[in-house]
Subunit: 180 residues, 2 copies
């Protein structure tokens, strides 16, 4: 079956600082028409920074859509045309003040393919040393570090509660069991 939905007409609703919103009138596989609400986003990177003691560096950050502070792995948006690995190195230093010697690409994923094109490129970073923190002017975060056991408890209490971070913690636990 051809599952494609062809755009008949599109209308820009909003062009913003981070996201744009466009409505597409589409032709469905059965010939009928429907509307798709599409958020476009520049894409992002996220970094799993692991210390020599096996602890994970997290940042507490207020998230306005949730109206609360949650703990996440360091992350940030791609600049236009920016290489994801260079962006990851920049974001790690900006948000945590740390540099990493070793970088491993652990894949990518779309966060909400039903309504948004945001993709996150994920990296593991170790061999950490102190650089200098340098946050964006509208960015406020608090760095801390936890063991893998502590991170899993933070998932249970929902202080860690976003897709990339629960994925990252599960990734580290899986690697640990594989290498056992």
């Amino acid at each position: 079956m051809d599952l494609n939905e062809r755009t008949i007409k599109e209308k820009s609703i909003y062009k913003g600082k981070i996201i744009d919103l466009t409505i597409h009138d589409v032709k469905l596989p059965n010939g009928k028409e429907s509307k798709r609400e599409i958020v476009t986003h520049p894409g992002a990177v996220a970094v799993i920074p692991v210390t020599t003691e096996g602890k994970v560096i997290l940042v507490n950050q207020f998230r306005k859509p949730l109206e609360k502070v949650i703990a996440e792995i360091p992350a940030g948006k791609l600049e236009k045309g920016e290489d994801p690995l260079l962006c990851a190195k920049r974001e790690l230093e900006e948000e945590t003040g740390m540099l990493a010697e070793n970088w491993t690409n652990v894949g990518s994923f779309y966060t909400s393919p039903g309504f948004a094109d945001e993709i996150i490129h994920l990296y593991l970073a170790d061999g950490l040393t102190e650089g200098k923190e340098n946050l964006d002017e509208d960015e406020f975060v608090e760095r801390f570090e936890v063991t893998l056991d502590e991170a899993e408890r933070l998932i249970e209490t929902q202080h860690i509660h976003d897709a990339k971070t629960v994925y990252a913690i599960q990734y580290l636990r899986l690697q640990q069991l594989k290498n056992r």
Copy 2:
């Protein structure tokens, strides 16, 4: 440090079928002002359906924001006030035509906390039997099943490429290693 960002003024940009968009003028922790673009979403459920042979049921679905077909675990939006578990049972049957005897809550996560409040509640479902498929009128999916090894190869080739599904496959692999 108080990381909260207080809303000074908010402006509704769009109220849609699935998402709304609102712009908040906020007061930052340092007293300065900034804007936050916020997508609100009703929330969703996703189901990891596992057969008695240990295979995972996936659905191929065209995702307009990505302009391509990807394979995902069955998922769907919450109706207003709907219980997530009931929604999960409904979505599994609608998208795959299957019923499940055993349901386990495996947690929840926000998909894109920087700009959206979408949360996904995730369930493991086994003891599968055939019910009847009953898709929404604007929904077209193709069901298939894969082993865990095959699913991991689909992640490598990026036919599986969304957060909930890569998380789900990693979850199954982790459970398998824990129970070994």
